[in-house]
């Protein structure tokens, strides 16, 4: 089967620094692929390259066989490649529901003029978005806070909201940058289940950057490891966990017993 997303020899330079160095890998439809690596390894940069927020210095990104690197970010989103951010980003002074509704932008059939004039199509759109937003709210369990201003939410909910925004765009592939950071174990596991459900029920392919190794091991079908911008390993969680290079560069000794 042809891969959904292909990263081919992608390189990104910032001045003298090579943040991403000749990285290649494929993402298959319906899988959860994690990218891990030390701080500054180039993971976030890679995500920005895939979603076209940055221009590649070299190499190509293909989605469904078509080149998507170096297009405008919104065009890439339109094709179905959607990214959430490392820092939680939401529309602060909108409510949770408004956040989700506005993120349905790509699904609108009416033109902006249509919306301005309140055409039939536009009203149908509004109705559809509302219903879909409510579905997403239900799916992610945000009912209680649907009408809260986003700026009043605690971290954990912000993460979920970030994901809801991503979902509202109805992506084929969603890029999640550290979705579990700042969440405790319990919350992390809830989100892990959620992401898996999304993949199964909505057939969303997931590309993930994360430092929470237990979660990564649990959720991923495959893992790609970056170090100093280069890919140093790729494989199943099992393979990666036992890869000496990865342990040396990233995982460290499992032993936390530093003693007190």
């Amino acid at each position: 089967m042809k891969p959904l997303l292909e990263v081919r020899n992608v390189t990104k330079r910032f001045g003298g620094l090579i943040a991403v160095n000749d990285v290649s890998f494929d993402v298959r439809k319906g899988e959860i692929l994690s990218v891990i690596g030390p701080n500054g390894a180039g993971k976030s940069t890679l995500f920005k390259l895939i979603s076209s927020f940055l221009k590649t210095s070299n190499g190509l990104v293909l989605f469904r066989g078509e080149i998507i690197s170096n297009l405008a970010p919104h065009t890439v989103a339109r094709r179905g490649v959607v990214r959430t951010f490392q820092e939680t980003t939401i529309f602060k002074s909108m409510t949770v529901r408004e956040n989700i509704i506005v993120s349905h932008h790509l699904q609108s059939k009416a033109s902006l003029l249509g919306f301005f004039l309140g055409s039939r199509k536009a009203r149908a759109d509004e109705k559809r978005f509302g219903e879909s937003a409510d579905r997403i709210i239900g799916l992610l369990g945000l009912e209680n806070i649907a009408n809260e201003l986003a700026s009043n939410l605690p971290q954990g909910h912000l993460r979920v909201l970030g994901m809801a925004i991503g979902l509202a765009t109805d992506p084929a592939i969603i890029l999640l940058d550290e979705p579990f950071a700042g969440l405790n174990h319990d919350e992390t596991m809830r989100l892990v289940t959620l992401v898996q459900r999304l993949r199964d029920e909505r057939e969303v392919t997931v590309l993930l950057v994360e430092h929470d190794i237990p979660a990564v091991m649990k959720i991923s079908n495959r893992i790609v490891v970056l170090n100093f911008g280069q890919k140093i390993a790729e494989g199943t969680p099992q393979e990666i966990q036992n890869n000496p290079g990865v342990i040396e560069a990233y995982l460290g000794s499992e032993d936390m017993a530093v003693g007190i």
């Binding site: 190794i213 560069a249 460290g252 017993a257």
Partner: protein, 240 residues
């Protein structure tokens, strides 16, 4: 062991959000205490209350037997309480050196500052290597070390750490955990550690408080709590 910090029935709220609903916590000299809890439980709020960044609504905070709440936030560090805030908060366009010197802002003993500076650089050799580099260009782990060093520059009696492992690669998390242990041992500093990484926090602390929606729900010896069923389920995850 002497009690150095004591929060008694502290309440705190932002606008209309109740963050702390009567929290009592204490910390002894030389002790490391972990604060764990879900998102929005109010862990950071406790630290903000101590450092005066947020005013408490009722209750009291005592430091070395004296009332601390009501003191101006900028005066608290001078009394010996230093904090490493959530999200690191380096001064991105200042060199490591200037960042560290900012840590000693309230001190005026030149010789003492130089000595502390040396000991910090010794503890984190990486900082010495990049002494004049702009802090904003450091990697996440390096930044975390720097802000811990920056807090130490105040020669504090109490060190408050807010999620030092956030967004840090596993290997570095271990390094940071080791540093915390070493600091509390070498410098005789009491540490109040807020963590999502409960396993790490509990393994390096004497006592642990578990917080839920603004209230303390559990407290006790860390070693014992690590085996507590409730803690295991809620914060550590049964298996791994």
């Amino acid at each position: 062991m002497n009690e150095i910090l004591k929060l008694d029935n502290v309440e705190l709220y932002y606008d209309h959000v109740y963050a702390l609903k009567g929290v009592s916590v204490n910390l002894h000299e030389g002790e490391t205490v972990a604060l764990i809890g879900a998102n929005g439980a109010g862990k950071s709020s406790i630290l903000r209350a101590i450092t005066g960044l947020s005013k408490i609504k009722s209750g009291s905070i005592h430091y070395k037997g004296k009332r601390l709440d009501g003191t101006l936030a900028s005066d608290i560090v001078g009394q010996g309480i230093a904090m490493v805030p959530e999200g690191r908060r380096v001064f991105p366009y200042m060199s490591i050196k200037d960042n560290l010197l900012m840590g000693a802002f309230t001190r005026s003993d030149k010789a003492g500052i130089t000595k502390t500076l040396e000991s910090v650089l010794e503890r984190f050799p990486r900082l010495k290597e990049r002494y004049s580099q702009q802090a904003g260009t450091l990697s996440g782990g390096e930044q975390q070390m720097m802000v811990i060093g920056r807090a130490l520059m105040a020669a504090p009696k109490i060190l408050l750490l807010d999620e030092p492992s956030l967004g840090i690669a596993p290997k570095l998390v271990q390094e940071i955990a080791r540093s915390i242990v070493a600091i509390s041992r070498d410098e005789k500093v009491s540490v109040l550690l807020v963590e999502q990484n409960s396993r790490m926090a509990m393994s390096i602390s004497h006592r642990t408080y578990a917080l839920s929606t603004g209230e303390i729900v559990l407290e006790g010896n860390s070693k014992e709590l690590m085996n507590d069923k409730r803690i295991k389920e809620a914060y550590l995850g049964g298996d791994l």
